[in-house]
Every structure is written in C-alpha cells, then in structure tokens.
Amino acid sequence: MVKLVHNDIIVLLASMGGILILARIFAELGKKIKMPIVMGEILLGIILGPTVFGSLFPDACAAILPKTGAVKIAMDGITSLSVVMLLFVAGMEVQLQVMLKQGKTAVYTSFTSMIIPFILGFAAVWFFPGFFVFTPDRRLVYALFFGIAMAVSALPVIIRIMMDLNLFKTKVGMVIIAAAIFDDLTGWIMFSFVLSLMGQEGEITSVWFTIGMILGFGLFMLIIGRYAINKALPWIQKNLSWPGGVLSISLGLCFLSAAFTEYIGLHAILGAFIVGIALGDSVHLQEREREIIHQFVTNVFAPLFFVSLGFKVNFIENFDWQLVLLVFFLAVGCKVFGASLGGYLGGLTKRESLAVGFGLNARGAMEIILGTLALNAGLIDSKMFVALVVMALITSMISGPLMKRFID
C-alpha cells in the first residue's frame, strides 16, 4: 500500500504552500496588465512544470513535484477535489429563472449559441477526422466532446467583462448572462454524458440507461433536492455555527452528490454541478455565505488546480500551431456566429448581436476544466489539450475589447 512518509508530507505541504503563494503573486501581477487570474496560474504551472523548470532542472523538478508515488497520488486527489468544487460553485451561479424570464432574445441566443457551435464542432471531427487524433472506436465520443468544447462559455469571465463595461443592466448584458447560464447548464450535462459514454460505445442500452440516469438524477435534485435544501437552510443558519455550518453542510452535500453520481456511473462533476444549482437557487442562501463559499474555492482550490495543469504536459513540445489555429478560429467562428445569429433573430441590432457574440466567446476556466477532464479520461491527447487551453485563454482576453467595439 502506498503511504505518505515523513519526507512525502514535507514535499506535499511545501509544494502546496509554494504553489498557493506563487500563484497569488502571478495572479496579482497578471491583474496589473488586465490578464485573467487563471492565466497567471497556468503560466506559473507551465514555468514550474516540465515545460520550463522540468526541462532545465529535471532532477530538482522530480524531487519537488514527483511524477509517481504517494505525493503524486495525494496531489491528484487534491486536484480532483478542486475540480469537483469548481463545478459546484459554477452550479451555484446557474439561475434557470434568469433565462426563463429574459424572453425571446435570450431564448434564441441561448439556443443558437449552444447548438450551432456544437453542431459545427461535431461536424468538424466527423467529416474531417484527419485533423484530429483519436482512437477509431472513439470517433463519436470525440466528436461529441469537441462539439461541447466549442459550445461552452465561462460565466465568471463574462460577468467580469460586464462589470468592466458596465453592461449589467442593459438588454445586451442580460441576454449574454442568460445565454451563458444556459450554455453552462447544457454543456456540463452533455459533457458528463460524454464521459459516461466512454467505454460503452455501441451499447445502445447503456446509452439510454445513462441518459435516463442523468435526467432522473437532474430532475430529482432540481425539484426534490432543491426544495429540501431550501427548507433546511434556515434551520442550519439558525442552529449551527455561522458561517461554518452552511459551509460544511454545503460542501458535504457537494461531495456526497459527486460520490453518488460517480457511483451510478455518471461523472462526479455532474453531482457537484447539480447540487450547486440546487443550493445556489435557495432564497435563504445569504449573499455573504455565497461569497464565502466562492472565496474558499476560488482562492484555495482553484489555484492548486490551474497551476497543476502546467505539470501535466510540456506546453512547448505539445504546441502544434496548426491545431492551435484550427481550434481557435473554429471556436471563435462558431460561437460568434451562433450567438450573434440568435441575438439578431431575437430582435437585437447587428451591432448588439455582434457584441453578444463576442461576449459569449469568452471560454475561460470552464473550457480548461473541460479539457483537463477529457485529458485525464484519455479522450484527448496533450496537443489538443494545449490547443484548448490556448484558445480558452485568448478568447477570455479578447472578448472584452472586441465587445467594446460594438457597444454604443
């Protein structure tokens, strides 16, 4: 049995401490030049990982960040926890009602900004498989994954852009937020379906069983679970220590739900995401509690996760510029076209529609999490992972300035 010995504990704690402090320094430096925090964290991972530090000082790198053994297993455990919690907080910001009440423009935009990139991404893999690397028996799953990768948006980045451009209260702003929520919701549900499909291609019964399980679990949690959480929250706030009670019960529910979905053959992220929606929807969840949960996850676990991405692959060796360009232009083209078309059909002007298109084009952390999970699952190779990370970072940086051009 692999066990953490004295030296392993020192290495693990020192690595985590160093990562957290350096990630904060990189993030704050990045902020000065308007770089998304996640970019600073990934850049640190690239520097500390095999790309830079590992190439120059392989022995030292292996001692600090071992590739095998107990420390590696412990670090992998922490990053798995992190991704579950990141999906949990992403779920907390999904407000189905926002989409329901925004009317025709939001419905059109939400639908086209999801479905058009998905179809085009799927078709790119299906009809031009030569551009992509996958095992022949996984063509369908890979195509589905790539479609989803083209379709996701990143609500936190988008909200940040809205803040910078002061678009919260505008029609364009509300349409973008509603569509991003829809894209997040459908994207993660579809992705957990794709992950569940891996290894069961061709087994129609299993596919239908998986769809049934996702729908059953989703509906149960969003109706019964949501109702129960909403009823229980005032009792927790009144009778348990504050905010500790809410924090521990919330994260406890997140892990239990994630464990349950993993147990029934769906991915843990689905459980975390759906329970996040159920908790975030509660009218009793106070703003301060919401902020504390976000602060805890975003500032402790997110840096560990995003820095660790740089340890996974050598970004220089796996930088295939043709693939990077293909993924980037396909992602931007599909999303901007899909979202703008929806906005235009929904009654926005051409300029407003383009602003919506570029706003929803920001992929940010969500795309990177998606790519990491696909890489861990062995669905994509390191080159595609690097291409997705580069696309996510660039789209996050260009969305704001491009949107600004179309806002009067």
Binding site: L96, V98, L100, I159, N166, F168, L222, I223, E287, T298
Partner: protein, 291 residues
C-alpha cells in the same frame, strides 16, 4: 361592449371595479373593503358571483350588501354560471373592469398552490389590475404603508403612478419604492479578482445605478404630499420584496403584472411574482398597465 376601449387603456384611474362574491365567511369583509375602495376612487362597483342564482343566495347577498352599506345604483350584481376563472376573466373583459378585487389566503396549501387556486390563477392571467385582500376587515383600515416594486421594466412607471393614485385617494402616507439587486455570477466574479475596495465599489455602483433609475421615474410622477422613500435590497426578485414587505409590515404591496404567460414550470422553478403568490406578505395590487 366595445372591446377596442381596452387597448392602450391607461392603468389608472380605476373607473370600474369588480369584486368576486363567493359567500365564504370572508365575503362581508371583502365587500366592505371593495365598497371603501370604490367610494374613495369614485368608481362603479360590480359584484360578480359565479354559480347558480337562487333565491336564498339573492337574499343572502342583499343582506351582505346592506351590511356593507351598498345601497345605491352604483353597485351592480352579475350572476353567471361556468368555470370560475374563465368566467370571471371574461366578465372583466366584457365590462371593461379596471380593477378586480378578490379575497385570498396568505398561503395556500402546497397542492392547491401548485395546481392553482382561483384567486392566484386569476392574478396570473388577468388583463386588468387585481387586488388580492389577505386580511379584509368589515371596518376597512387605511393603507398606511405601501411598498412598490421599482424593477427596471417599461411597465414600472405606470405601476408607480398607479400606486401614487391609489395612495392619494386612500389617504396613505408612506410609499417606499423598492428595487431588488440580483446579478447571477457576481459573487464568483468578485471572488475571482477583486480587492475589498474594488468589491465595495462594484456593489456601490450597482446600488447607485438603481437609485438613479428610481429617481428618474419618481421625477416623472405626481407625488403630492406623500412621504416617499426609495430602497434597494439584495436578493432574488420577488422573494426579496416579499420579505421586505413582510418585515416592514406593509399594508399593500404593488407590483407589475407578469410579462409572460405563467405556467406550472414557473411554480416549480419559482421566480418573481410566483414568490409573492406563494406566500402573500400583505394585500397585493398587481397593476396591469396594458402597454
């Protein structure tokens, strides 16, 4: 009846008021409140009963009307059989009713709420303003404190003006215009990359914008001598204002009519007016502005 008169008809004044008569124990207080309001607004009052017209019911209604002080020609009774919701809505349309008054429980049981009680179903679908009375009195009280939803919506200016019109005629003194702040994803975005001063600045900016909007609307209204305040509160739209009205012990909450046709799903994924209908904090005036 000339139904074209309904189109673009202003939200106020309330020239014709209707009240639904159910012969429940609260029938007399509801009639007394309806009379008080119609007298104050100088409006004609229709009494609508959906059900069979029998001599016993006629006699009982005469007694109730006498007790409520309804003894002149301004009060007309309509008897009609049929499905209550559809029939009441149809009668309101045919008689160009501006305000429909209904008695309503503060809270329905879960099953009834989800299936839809008569008063709540009418509130969701009516093409005229609706006043739900949660605690009607035989000796009507004044509507001292009125809370109005100042949500950003083209209808809001009409709703606020209607609230002032109502407040002036019913001698109300305090009106508070409340706006709810709810930005999905804000906590996540702030947690991601904001210092404490930056986070405070963002929240202040949101608050200032809302206050500015409310002040612009107020500037277009005829306030008279009403003591007017404005307030922005954080929370889910509908729930936050319901809680505010309850905590402040408001006598009347005034809101816009729904923008879309509400259905069962809106009660499952509760939002806006559905939070209020789920548990009425006080009397509720839903203003249908026909814009």
């Amino acid at each position: 009846m000339d139904l074209s008169k309904l189109k673009k008809r202003p939200a106020y004044p309330f020239e014709t008021i209707a009240v639904a008569v159910s012969f429940s124990p609260r029938c007399l207080p509801v009639l007394a409140e309806a009379k008080h309001i119609s007298d104050a607004l100088n409006a004609a009052l229709l009494l609508i009963h959906i059900g069979e017209k029998t001599s016993e019911k006629e006699q009982l209604l005469d007694e109730l009307m006498n007790k409520a002080g309804m003894d002149d020609s301004r009060y007309r009774v309509i008897w009609m059989e049929g499905e209550p919701v559809e029939t009441i809505l149809k009668l309101c349309k045919l008689n160009i009713v501006d305000l429909l008054i209904l008695g309503a429980l503060e809270k329905e049981n879960v099953l009834k709420f989800y299936l839809g009680s008569i008063a709540r179903t009418i509130s969701r679908r009516a093409k005229c303003s609706v006043l739900l009375l949660t605690n009607p009195m035989e000796e009507p009280r004044r509507y001292k404190k009125i809370v109005v939803n100042g949500v950003e919506n083209p209808k809001t200016i009409h709703t606020i003006n209607t609230a002032f019109y109502f407040a002036k005629h019913l001698k109300s003194k305090d009106v508070v215009i409340v706006n709810e702040i709810n930005v999905p994803g804000l906590a996540m975005a702030i947690a991601d990359q904001s210092t404490i001063p930056e986070a405070k600045e963002i929240k202040k900016l949101l608050d200032d914008e809302i206050q500015e909007t409310i002040q612009t609307i107020i500037g277009q209204c005829d306030i008279g001598d009403i003591n007017l305040n404005s307030k922005s509160i954080k929370g889910k739209p509908g729930y936050a204002i319901r809680k505010y009205a309850k905590d402040r012990r408001a006598d009347l909450l005034v809101i816009n009519s729904p923008d879309t046709q509400l259905n069962f799903l809106d009660r499952i994924f509760t939002h806006d007016i559905e939070y209020i209908l789920a548990h009425l904090p006080c009397n509720l005036l839903i203003v249908h502005s026909r814009v």
